[in-house]
């Protein structure tokens, strides 16, 4: 037939035959405009070629303003659209459709007619729909007969036709309408469901339908009619192979928190996502697999939050173990410098409390850091704060630096209370600090004690001074000068502030 149509002179004969047929035909474009009609069609619709050629079908024929006019149009349109979408013939056994007529006096009225119609899609070489052919028959007389006639006495044959054939046709049509409305309801449910759904046809997994959620998942790209490999190339061979395998074996595949690359924005980069999904085979009446039904939902947020939680628990565990090792070190080294268990307990506890105070400060800021003055305040508040003069700007410390400085200030203050300025009523401590403006920024801290007893440099360094020295040089990569003028201890600390945060 296609070959016949291609040869020009046969087409002329076909056009003549088309026009001469007693069956009414109208040829429609896929956007439902009238591309051509034959004479029989013009006769039964009481229209002329000039009026309707090129017009939208439902512009030329709108079934009138009556209440059921819009429903009549919807039924015909639905059948046409189904024929175009499925590329298969669709039948409308009975449909009411009003035709605009003119009385002899010129008044317009709508004639209620009953029709039976067949919609046949016509495909081009690529298999795309180029036309839909509507073949329609006016069955009004049969329908009226069925309903008891309007004056005319039915013959026996009319009775058979009207009573049985028409009744059955009507039942079929009612069934069709019911099925169609159920189908539409199901499709609506699928389209609106929050999970993503798609139907893939054939061995190449061509998108036949998908819902809104699926469209959103893949950045609203145009998918219908395209094979999966062309439509979503970024998802990769693993998933294509899975689809092939479901299609070939007919076995359902279930994916749990399955990692996938997807382009989520139009023309965007592929992004990592995690999906729970199933690929289910779709079978025809003979049990042959003809497609794959895809459904699922995104679990990216759940997967990422579970990963974050695991990281946090690991990190917490690491910190706890490190802190325990620190406490172990304080215990063992404090024990070595105390023969008496009671003095050991006092010193060990006060060091533990110093560590704990800085932890409290850091917890308040969710371990983002602490201010230098707050750290100083916490570690010296056990003493008379009126005798400690603090002077300097706000300085944000990283958690690691805050912990180190907390330990250092604790050791200095404890030493001052035992042997230095705070051991005498008139003693004072001046703590001054500045931060250099040039990068990398350096924090300079000066700790000066006055008014205490006369001091001399210690003969050997105890745990306290080793702890200070190590914290400054080792943990903070800083510098330390300890001076022992007879008037009181003088400590100068230089701490780089912009090192990476240590664990």
């Amino acid at each position: 037939m296609k070959e016949l149509l291609k040869s020009g002179y046969v087409a002329v004969d076909l056009a003549t035959a088309f026009d001469a047929s007693p069956n009414a035909y109208v040829l429609l474009t896929p956007d439902l405009r009238i591309a051509g009609v034959n004479q029989a069609y013009l006769d039964i619709t009481h229209s002329s070629r000039e009026e309707i050629n090129g017009q939208p079908l439902f512009g030329a024929f709108d079934s009138g303003p009556s209440q059921d006019g819009a429903e009549n149009v919807r039924q015909v349109a639905a059948s046409l659209e189904k024929a175009i979408a499925t590329k298969a013939r669709d039948h409308l056994a009975v449909v009411k459709f009003h035709i605009e007529r003119q009385r002899p006096d010129g008044a317009v009225f709508y004639d209620e007619r009953y029709w039976s119609a067949t919609h046949t899609p016509i495909l081009d070489d690529e298999g795309e729909v180029i036309y839909v052919l509507q073949h329609t028959s006016d069955i009004t007389e049969l329908e009226r007969l069925r309903r008891g006639g309007e004056g005319a006495t039915p013959t026996a044959l009319d009775g058979v036709l009207g009573g049985d054939v028409m009744r059955r046709a009507n039942l079929v049509q009612q069934d069709n309408l019911r099925l169609e409305s159920e189908r539409r309801r199901l499709v609506d449910l699928i389209m609106q469901t929050p999970g993503f759904v798609a139907l893939l046809a054939g061995p190449d997994h061509v998108f036949e339908m998908h819902n809104e959620a699926y469209g959103q998942l893949v950045g609203h790209r145009s998918l219908l009619g395209k094979p999966m490999r062309d439509a979503l190339p970024e998802i990769g061979e693993t998933y294509f192979d899975l689809l092939d395998s479901v299609f070939e074996t007919g076995e359902t595949y279930e994916g749990r928190a399955s990692r996938i690359q997807l382009q989520r924005q139009p023309n965007g980069e592929a992004e990592e996502a995690f999906l729970n999904f199933t690929y289910q085979p779709v079978r025809d009446s003979s049990g042959q697999t003809v497609g794959v039904f895809v459904q699922g939902y995104e679990v990216t947020e759940n997967v990422l939050s579970a990963q974050r939680q695991k990281l946090m628990i690991d990190e917490l565990n690491h910190r706890v173990k490190n802190t325990l090792a620190t406490v172990q070190s304080i215990a063992i080294q404090s024990a070595r410098s105390h023969a008496d268990p009671r003095t050991f307990a006092t010193e060990f506890q006060s060091r533990l409390m110093a560590l704990s105070h800085t932890h409290d400060l850091l917890t308040r800021s969710h371990w983002e850091g602490a201010d230098l003055r707050d750290v100083l305040h916490h570690e010296t508040e056990a003493h008379d704060l009126r005798r400690i003069n603090m002077n300097g700007p706000l300085v944000a410390l990283t958690p690691a630096t805050a912990l180190s400085l907390g330990m250092i200030f604790h050791e200095l203050a404890t030493n001052a209370a035992k042997h230095g300025a705070l051991s005498r009523a008139e003693g004072r401590i001046f703590i001054d600090w500045t931060v250099t403006e040039a990068e990398p920024r350096l924090l300079n801290i000066s700790w000066s004690e006055v008014g205490g007893p006369e001091i001399t440099a210690p003969e050997h360094r105890g745990f306290g001074s080793r702890l200070i020295e190590r914290n400054v040089r080792h943990d903070m990569a800083g510098d330390l000068k300890l001076g022992y003028p007879s008037t009181g201890l003088h400590a100068e600390l230089v701490i780089p502030l912009d090192r990476g945060q240590t664990s």
Partner: protein, 122 residues
């Protein structure tokens, strides 16, 4: 009974000074000469590049936010035995180093000694 650790040079890589001081104390008690402690990866690699004589090493896995494995690889290439120390638990070592000697924080003196002796004798 001779002490197999007596006089051995042991490198310590550990960013937490209190933990490093504890290790020094433990190692010195066992008669070792400690090298370091070193608080970051770059300094540790620099030290190895200078061909310092070492009999063994104790490596904290997470050093100032970085993993110690480049240092471990360098030691392995030089045939210097070493033991990891970690607060991350048994699962803290990645695939390449799984099964390597490791001590868990906090550690006992005996755990450090036994792990080092085993590593040095292997």
């Amino acid at each position: 009974m001779t002490n197999p650790l007596n006089g051995r040079s042991i490198l310590i890589v550990e960013d937490e000074s209190l933990v490093a001081m504890l290790l020094e104390t433990i190692l010195e008690d066992m008669g070792c000469a400690t090298v370091g402690p070193i608080s970051n990866i770059d300094d540790a690699l620099k030290l190895l590049a200078d061909d310092v004589a070492l009999d063994g090493a104790l490596l904290d896995v997470n050093v100032a936010g970085r993993e110690v494995f480049p240092v471990a690889a360098e030691l392995k290439a030089r045939g210097v035995p070493f033991v990891f120390s970690t607060g991350y638990g048994e699962g803290g070592l990645p695939g390449d180093w799984r099964g390597h000697a490791v001590i868990q924080k906090p550690f006992t003196e005996a755990a450090v000694r036994d792990a080092l002796i085993k590593a040095l004798e292997a």
